[in-house]
Subunit: 466 residues, 2 copies
């Protein structure tokens, strides 16, 4: 009996070692293929340089739908289709224009851009005194008498001491998202928001804003100002609080239009009803070419389905790549996908999004149960040769979040974040700022986790089967 | 008795927790100061943009000596001095020129640069048939009859599947360093070496080569060719092995000149005779402005001495910053420093070099005893909030290696390596490719390890004291 036990244990250990080395080999094959024969960089080159910025509802967004569908059609998936989704169509109009007026006739031009969803200024532009605040909470202290008819200038910078720059972003973005709705309540005429950028430079950064339930006739225009111009404006205000600020923008919201999520899948050989999703978002802002946000995530997700078949691996579960439309200003693609999945009774076991730039991958964030987190941690040593060390909890991706369910493991790729906000939503988000190897390493890192999830299943789905 | 033991243990635990939280605070203060009040970026801006490439023996190298000494004089160290060192002076001369000649009169220009230390071609240039090889070992197979009078083209690329790009570099650099000396033995007329670059682009990458003991009159000229041109040349050769290659360069080796290591120190308050060294190298190649190699290491090292005094910390040991001259083509600065240290009987306990680029820091490589390695691993959790995970053995820095001694802990900062060889030794190593935060995080990471080494001492030096 003791001998049998010993032999069983020995057999288990041998199996374990064998499995481990099998996984090591598969990960090595995935990384090798990504680094020597990856498709992500060429696809991104096309999306960025041949198509460019892909604002929801734009011609470029449609070109991106057509292009990525064609590419997915060409890599031998079992099925590729378009999922219709109606999206908002906001257009920037002619280039915005702004200046600081220190005395009548003495002006300094400054770079601004309308925030996504903002209304236009009057045709002649808007000129008013300007009040600098460090955040929304200051408005109540200032009150209507100090804000009525003024332009509110939100100037709280991102905190440079936070190592994870996304945390610094979270700490500021309320100014951009809700600043106009809140300032409008005090009778402000418009708002100018310091760009969400840790660097001092001349690029204004776009991004979504919302008027909440503000009636249409009470909505005030909102624009982002570059970080260098924000510093200039702030210093000028300290010297003379009576200066005026002028800006003009003629952006507008048009009726919703039809667009698409682009979807492709490889049907699972053993558990076809268990779906593993990998994705990014096809739309971007219009100022740059959307390379890091989120062309990178799109092409990495597309390549995951190709890479996972390195060494002839045949997925047990259904692997689905979803290129979501309208993450930036509506999340309609993500919501539609979840709605359709629910109505069809589909079971998603794992969903992974890449939407934090195409920089060197550092790890994953995981939004899942303790058991599933422990399962992923058990694979940590497999990722070490690829310098993937970060396995943190909470946070995945905006597009996959509507799928959230206790049985589902949600995850986000976590690339190095230091450079991300130099580019994000600005004219500086362009192809020359992505490094081919870094992009490919990200795709391989995603494919590796997808492979492991496919091979072993998630803890919960195993229990369900058991 | 049991109670006393328990109480002692409890006291130890309390002390440990207290010490830990003290260290956590000090590291936080160091990172905060680097990210909000760092000097490294401004210093690097001057070195790169106001001075530029700093080849040993050049006017720019002397300007860098003067500038960094002035800056060290201004940050309140106890002592700053120049250590004389004679360095080789190799000059590139007029721009190199090269073409592929497919038929007489039908030529395609290609970007090359002379390798550091190479002799010139004849005044009219050198034109010959070209033989492609994948490495030095192929020469013996080809033999004199196939190589006599030919230009040998070393075209083994860096291996893209290696995650650590420095390993890929090590696997190729023999072609650059010894390629000419070896090909010369078979009567070759010259050598062209594929640039050490993982990317396909138009920049030729310089770097040191050596003729070993080849007599002067038998030395053949050597140049690097850009990776794109190497691909072009290789394809052209496959179509027609009879093509000719022409190149012209008039570089030369002048007599040695006087130069300096720049040194500054803070005298230790308790163990002034135990020296902790932090450094980088002041010289660079001449093609770019030497931002990543190694302006970054220079300014990070300079800032370490300033940062460590964040929160009023007073070093117990003597902290010394050493800016070495001539790492690139002679290592004379490193050798001289070690020689002087030995002759004075100085005791170095820890030496840390930053010479792998100013990218996001990932960790350290450590060249030390098992005990000292274990000591550093014990601090790993202190570094986790800053996403510093890599603590690998072997390798530190070229300049500090001559100090090697069993009592000394040698270390190198390990930044993310993916982009490094896009820039290294080429016209593409320029200031706009460094990110301020990444550079500052590197300085803070170095200062943190220096602080811990200073506070606790290295295992061996404690034993010596005990």
């Amino acid at each position: 009996m003791k001998l049998r036990l010993l032999l069983s244990l020995l057999a288990l250990i041998v199996l374990e070692v064998y499995a481990q080395s099998d996984d090591e080999k598969q990960l090595r094959a995935i990384y090798d293929m990504a680094l020597t024969n990856g498709k992500a960089y060429d696809w991104l080159n096309h999306l960025s340089n041949q198509i460019g910025g892909r604002l929801s509802g734009s011609v470029q967004a449609q070109q991106a739908v057509d292009y990525t569908k064609r590419q997915l059609d060409s890599i031998g998936l079992d099925r590729v289709w378009l999922q219709p989704v109606r999206v908002p169509k906001w257009v920037r109009g002619t280039p915005e224009f702004a200046y600081i007026e220190t005395k009548p006739g003495i002006t300094t031009n400054v770079p601004i851009c309308a925030l996504g969803g903002s209304v236009a200024t009057p045709d002649v532009g808007l000129k008013a005194n300007i009040v600098e605040v460090q955040g929304i909470e200051e408005l109540a202290t200032l009150g209507k008498e100090k804000l009525q008819g003024k332009i509110v200038f939100y100037n709280r910078p991102m905190d440079p001491t936070l190592i994870n720059t996304f945390q610094a972003y979270s700490g500021c973005v309320d100014q951009r998202y809700s600043g106009a709705a809140e300032a409008g309540k005090y009778g402000a005429a418009g708002v100018i928001v310091r760009s969400m950028n840790l660097r001092l430079d001349d690029y204004p950064h776009a991004g979504a804003m919302s008027y909440g339930d503000t009636p249409e006739d009470q909505r005030i225009p909102a624009a982002a100002i570059s970080t260098k111009a924000a510093e200039l404006l702030s210093t000028t205000l300290k010297l003379n609080p009576d200066i005026k600020f002028y800006f003009k923008q003629n952006c507008k919201q048009l009726p919703d239009v039809e667009s698409y999520n682009v979807i492709g899948e490889i049907r699972g050989s053993q558990f076809p009803n268990e779906i593993i999703l990998v994705g990014g978002h096809l739309d971007s802002w219009d100022l740059g070419d959307g390379t890091h946000d989120d062309g990178a995530g799109v092409v990495q997700s597309m390549d995951v389905l190709r890479l996972i078949r390195a060494n002839g691996y045949r997925p047990k579960r259904t692997l689905r790549v979803v290129l979501f439309m309208n993450e930036e200003n509506g999340l309609r693609g993500g919501k539609k996908y979840a709605e359709v999945a629910k109505s069809k009774g589909e079971t998603h076991v794992f969903a992974l999004e890449s939407d934090a730039g195409g920089f060197t991958p550092r790890g994953f964030s995981l939004d899942c149960s303790d058991e599933n987190y422990a399962q992923v941690l058990g694979w940590k040593s497999l990722f070490e040769p690829y310098l993937i060390h970060m396995f943190v909890r909470n946070g995945s991706g905006a597009d996959i979040n509507p799928l959230k369910d206790e049985n589902l493991v949600l995850a986000g790729l976590r690339p190095d974040s230091q450079r991300y906000f130099d580019h994000h939503h600005s004219e500086n988000d362009t192809f020359e700022h992505v490094n081919k190897r870094e992009l490919e390493l990200g795709a391989a890192t995603m494919a590796s986790l997808v492979y492991l999830m496919d091979k072993y299943g998630t803890v919960r789905s195993d229990k369900v089967k058991g």
